[in-house]
Symmetry: C2
Subunit: 202 residues, 2 copies
Amino acid sequence: MNDNLLIKIPPRKSKSIFLEKNQKIKIINTHGTQVVDTWCFNQADIKEFMSMEHNRAVTSSIFPKEGEFLYTNKRQPILYILKDSSPGRHDTLIAACDTYRYKMLGCEEYHDNCTDNLMNTLDNLGFKSIECPSPLNLWMNIPVNIDGEVTFSPPLSTKNDYIIFEAKMDCILIMSVCPMDIVPINGEECIIKEIHYQLLSD
Amino acid sequence: MNDNLLIKIPPRKSKSIFLEKNQKIKIINTHGTQVVDTWCFNQADIKEFMSMEHNRAVTSSIFPKEGEFLYTNKRQPILYILKDSSPGRHDTLIAACDTYRYKMLGCEEYHDNCTDNLMNTLDNLGFKSIECPSPLNLWMNIPVNIDGEVTFSPPLSTKNDYIIFEAKMDCILIMSVCPMDIVPINGEECIIKEIHYQLLSD
């Protein structure tokens, strides 16, 4: 596979990418500590999208792994995980951050958030009134203990860890560079950092 | 609290109940082995509903417990768990069963399912085109091991175990007596059984 242009997504920002079936994209955790909230919609039917609750049921796991598909709310494969260089701890349990989350954490003014990033991106694409699906939170490290308690922990990934997805249908991939700087999901320093991606050619 | 009329929900069927703020409902696992997919919507805004992914983020747990609230996609309390007589293993991870699930399990003909139960119920109430939120699956026992693998196991509840919810806003509670009879979430025998509920008076 040849590498195409490396494209940056700045801290706190989002980006939508139209992928054709079989097209591949490499998403790079440039600094190693950044969580990326990720959604994927069927281009032909925006009401079909990658769904964490359906995915867990199909794969019998809370962690998506290299060599596995990611499934939609119609239980169809929409992405395939061709390669994951990280320890494979990506979160499927936690909702995208939103204005309500930041208010609960004590923010009195507007805080950038992944839900608005998604909704604004969909809005710009001409899609309205769609609920925010539960995201695949790339590199977000949320251990679950035997009692079911979850912990918001720093990523286990390191600099330039990457994941390669192959589209299994024509789809729209949307990534949000998570602006959470209060709990340490984006590293102990709570500093939001840019990530990069590139489309791959066979 | 006085007990009002005990009402049956037959196997594979669903029921919607309008609850006023502070109203209490007791849901009874009459035979002890039955899973009940449960949703709850804000009466004033059907786009606000009990959301498992938001709930896990607010409570830092995959298991809702007695003495805790259940939260909406706006991170507002919609239900309070006043009492839970069971060992407290209710699932928040797995999507409602649907036609796609039963096809994957080998069903060639239509199989009753919780997603259609919800959508038909909403339809009858005059609500259209709403996605099926990830349900609170009462008594559904889905252990998660240290590697993140989930198992579809029989309930830990026993005959007449019950849960009491108190509404924290005017809401619509929808329950579906899960028709899954292929994997043993409704007991090793895979026989779907009726449940009961009653509205409680202070």
